[in-house]
C-alpha cells in the first residue's frame, strides 16, 4: 500500500523533469486499449488517477500497476475503474467548447448547405451514451441559438436524440435538474434564457425539453441500433473507451450505417479511432477533431 505522500506526488514538477517512463507506459497502454490519449501536460491528473487506483488495488509502484492493468486476469475490470476516474467530471454543460464550436460554426452549416434544396430544413443529432443529459441539452441550446440568429442555420428545425444504457441516468436527464457546478461553463446570458433556478439547482427551461428525446439503448443491441436512421451528426464521447476492440468495431459500423452520407461523427476530445475502422476519416477543426465517412464507401455496409 502506498502512502498519501506518494499519492500526491506529481510528475511534471517545476524543474521540468521528464515524466516517469512507467507512467508513459501506462499512458500508452490506455491509448492502445481504450483509445483515449493524455498529452504530457495532462499527465499530472492522469498520474493522480493512477495513484488513487494503486492505493485501492494495493499496488506499490507504477510498474506494478502497469502489470495489474496489462497482465492480471482482472485487468479488464481495473481498466474500467481507471477509466471511470479519468473521465469523472466530464458530464457538464459545454464541457468541450472547441467541439461545440466546430459543430455549430463549421459542421452544421456545411450539412445545411448540402440539404438546402430539400423541402424540409431539418437536422437530426444523436448523443449516444448521453448519461444524465448535459450533452444533448447543450446541443439543443446551441441549435436554438443558431436557428434564431441570422446565419446559415436560421430557420432550421432540429431534433436531438439522447440515448444511454442506464435507465436511472435517463430519468435524471428527463427531469433535467442540475447542480450549479455542472453548468459553470454556461454563459450568464444562456443560463438566464434556458434555465430556471430551483432550490440552488438549475432546471432546464420548458422550451428546451421538446427538442430532446431520451430513450434507453444498448449500443451493442444490433436490432435496435438499426432503428437509429438518417442522422446528420452522432456524438459518442467517452463511451467506446469502455468497450473491447470487437464491440467497438461493431458499434462503429452501426454508427456508420446510421449516419447520412454527409454526416459527422464525434468522440471525446482526447479519444481516437485510430486502427479501429477504415469507414471513417479524421478531419480537423479549430481545436477539435471529428470524423466523416471515408470516400468511396458511400454504400451501406452489412454487419459481418
Amino acid at each position: 500500500m502506498t502512502t498519501g505522500a506518494s499519492a500526491s506526488r506529481v510528475v511534471a514538477d517545476s524543474s521540468g523533469a521528464y515524466p516517469d517512463t512507467q507512467l508513459l507506459r501506462i499512458r500508452d497502454l490506455v491509448y492502445d486499449v481504450a483509445g483515449i490519449f493524455h498529452p504530457d501536460h495532462n499527465l499530472v491528473r492522469f498520474e493522480e488517477c493512477c495513484r488513487g487506483r494503486m492505493q485501492q488495488v494495493g499496488s506499490a509502484s507504477l510498474a506494478g500497476y502497469f502489470d495489474c492493468l496489462a497482465v492480471n486476469p482482472s485487468c479488464q475490470a481495473e481498466l474500467v475503474n481507471l477509466l471511470n476516474d479519468i473521465t469523472v467530471g466530464e458530464t457538464q454543460f459545454f464541457r468541450n467548447q472547441a467541439q461545440a464550436d466546430a459543430i455549430r460554426r463549421v459542421v452544421l452549416p456545411r450539412i445545411a448547405a448540402g440539404k438546402a434544396d430539400l423541402p424540409v430544413h431539418h437536422l437530426r443529432i444523436w448523443s449516444a451514451g448521453c448519461c444524465t443529459g448535459e450533452e444533448p441539452y447543450s446541443l439543443a441550446i446551441q441549435l436554438l441559438e443558431a436557428s434564431t440568429d441570422p446565419g446559415p442555420l436560421q430557420g432550421w428545425d432540429f431534433e436531438i436524440f439522447g440515448t444511454d444504457i442506464n435507465e436511472r441516468a435517463l430519468s435524471r436527464a428527463r427531469v433535467g435538474v442540475y447542480s450549479q457546478l455542472s453548468a459553470r461553463h454556461v454563459s450568464p446570458l444562456l443560463r438566464e434564457k434556458y434555465f430556471t433556478v430551483a432550490d440552488h439547482n438549475l432546471a432546464v427551461a420548458a422550451l428546451l425539453k421538446p427538442k430532446v428525446t431520451f430513450s434507453r439503448l444498448n449500443l451493442l443491441d444490433d436490432s435496435r441500433m438499426t432503428f437509429m436512421k438518417s442522422m446528420d451528426v452522432i456524438l459518442c464521447c467517452n463511451v467506446l473507451i469502455y468497450f473491447d476492440m470487437l464491440s467497438r468495431q461493431r458499434v462503429l459500423q452501426h454508427f456508420y450505417n446510421c449516419l447520412l452520407p454527409q454526416g459527422y461523427f464525434f468522440v471525446g476530445a482526447a479519444e481516437s479511432l485510430f486502427g479501429l475502422t477504415e469507414d471513417f476519416t479524421l478531419v480537423h477543426f479549430p481545436g477539435a477533431t471529428g470524423y466523416i465517412k471515408a470516400p468511396r464507401r458511400g454504400f451501406t455496409r452489412q454487419l459481418s
Binding site: S15, G16, Y31, F37, P39, D40, H41, D101, R105, V106, V107, R110, A270, S272, L273, F274, G275, T281, L282, V283, H284, F285, P286, G287, T289, I292, P295
Partner: protein, 295 residues
C-alpha cells in the same frame, strides 16, 4: 498574381534597403547541415564568435532556465556545449531573423508570429522523424523559415498587411487568402524574392514559396508537403496567427498527403489523431522558448 497589383511586388524586387541577414548565418547554417559526426565544435564556435549579437544571444539563451543550467555560462564554447548543436541552429536563425521584424506597429503580434514559426518547425521535424523522412533537421529549418514572406510584406507595405490581417481575422480565413484578396499576392511570392536575395538553399526556398500549394512545387515536394501539413496542423491547434480559421481540414485526402506518401510510405500507418493530441504539448515548450528569445 493579380495584374492590377504587381507594383508592390516589383517594388520589393527593386528595393535597395531590404533587411539583410548577418553575414555569418549562411555559412553557419550550411556548416550545421552536415551529419553531426562531421561537425567540428571549434569550427562552430569560430563562426558564431564572428558575430557579436549572435554571441550575446547564445550566452543569454544558455543561461536561461529553459535549458536548466545550474552554473553560469560565460563563453561561446560553454554556450554551444550547453545548448547543443540543434539549438545553435535555431538560435542563430531566430536571433538573425527576429531582428528583421520591422518595429512598425502591426496587428500581428511578433511573438504570435514566432510561436507559429517555432511550432511549425517543431511539428515539421517530429512529423519528418515519425515518417522517416531522410532529413528531419532540414524540416525543422524549413518550418522555422516558411513564413519569411510575411516579414517582407511588413517591411514593404505595413498598412496593406494590416488590412489583410484584419480581413483574415475578421472572416476567420487563412492569411494567405486574405493577402491575395487585399494585396493581389501572398507571402509566398514575397518570400520567394527574399529567399532569393538571402541566397537560401533551394529546398528551403521551395518551402517558403510553395508551402500553401505543395502540388505546384517543381522540386523538393516532400519537404514542402511536410511543412504544409505541419503548418495546417499548427493553425488548427491554436498555434497559428492568433485567431481560429473556421473551416474543416482533411489532411488524409489532401494533395500534400498524396505527394508525401509516395516518398515516405510510413505515412500510410501514421496515427494523425495521436499526433494532433501531442501537439498541445509543444504549446508550452514553444511559448517559453519565444519568451526567452524576446527577453
Amino acid at each position: 498574381m493579380n495584374p492590377s497589383q504587381p507594383s508592390l511586388l516589383r517594388k520589393l524586387e527593386n528595393v535597395d534597403h531590404l533587411p539583410t541577414l548577418p553575414a555569418v548565418l549562411a555559412p553557419l547554417l550550411r556548416y550545421l547541415e552536415q551529419p553531426p559526426e562531421n561537425i567540428d565544435l571549434q569550427q562552430v564556435i569560430e563562426l558564431i564568435s564572428q558575430d557579436k549579437s549572435l554571441t550575446a544571444q547564445c550566452l543569454h539563451m544558455a543561461n536561461s532556465p529553459l535549458f536548466g543550467r545550474l552554473q553560469t555560462v560565460d563563453s561561446v564554447r560553454g554556450a554551444v556545449m550547453a545548448l547543443g548543436i540543434r539549438h545553435m541552429r535555431e538560435i542563430a536563425v531566430s536571433c538573425s531573423v527576429l531582428k528583421l521584424m520591422p518595429s512598425v506597429r502591426s496587428t500581428l503580434d511578433p511573438s504570435v508570429f514566432w510561436v507559429h514559426s517555432f511550432s511549425c518547425a517543431l511539428v515539421s521535424q517530429k512529423l519528418a522523424q515519425r515518417i522517416r523522412f531522410y532529413n528531419p533537421e532540414k524540416a525543422y529549418l524549413a518550418g522555422l523559415l516558411h513564413d519569411l514572406g510575411i516579414i517582407a510584406i511588413l517591411w514593404l507595405a505595413p498598412d496593406d498587411f494590416c488590412a489583410a490581417f484584419d480581413l483574415a481575422r475578421c472572416e476567420e480565413i487563412p492569411l494567405h487568402e486574405a493577402e491575395q484578396r487585399t494585396l493581389g499576392f501572398s507571402h509566398c511570392e514575397t518570400g520567394e524574392i527574399l529567399a532569393h536575395r538571402w541566397n537560401l538553399a533551394a529546398d528551403v526556398s521551395a518551402v517558403v514559396q510553395f508551402h500553401h500549394h505543395p502540388e505546384t512545387a517543381p522540386a523538393h515536394r516532400s519537404l514542402v508537403a511536410i511543412v504544409h501539413l505541419a503548418d495546417l496542423l499548427c493553425r488548427m491547434r491554436d498555434l497559428g496567427y492568433g485567431y481560429p480559421e473556421q473551416r474543416q481540414i482533411n489532411l488524409l485526402e489532401s494533395q500534400a498527403h498524396a505527394l508525401l506518401i509516395a516518398e515516405c510510405p510510413d505515412l500510410a500507418g501514421f496515427d494523425w489523431a495521436r499526433f494532433t493530441f501531442e501537439l498541445d504539448n509543444y504549446l508550452i515548450e514553444v511559448r517559453s522558448l519565444v519568451a526567452h528569445l524576446h527577453s
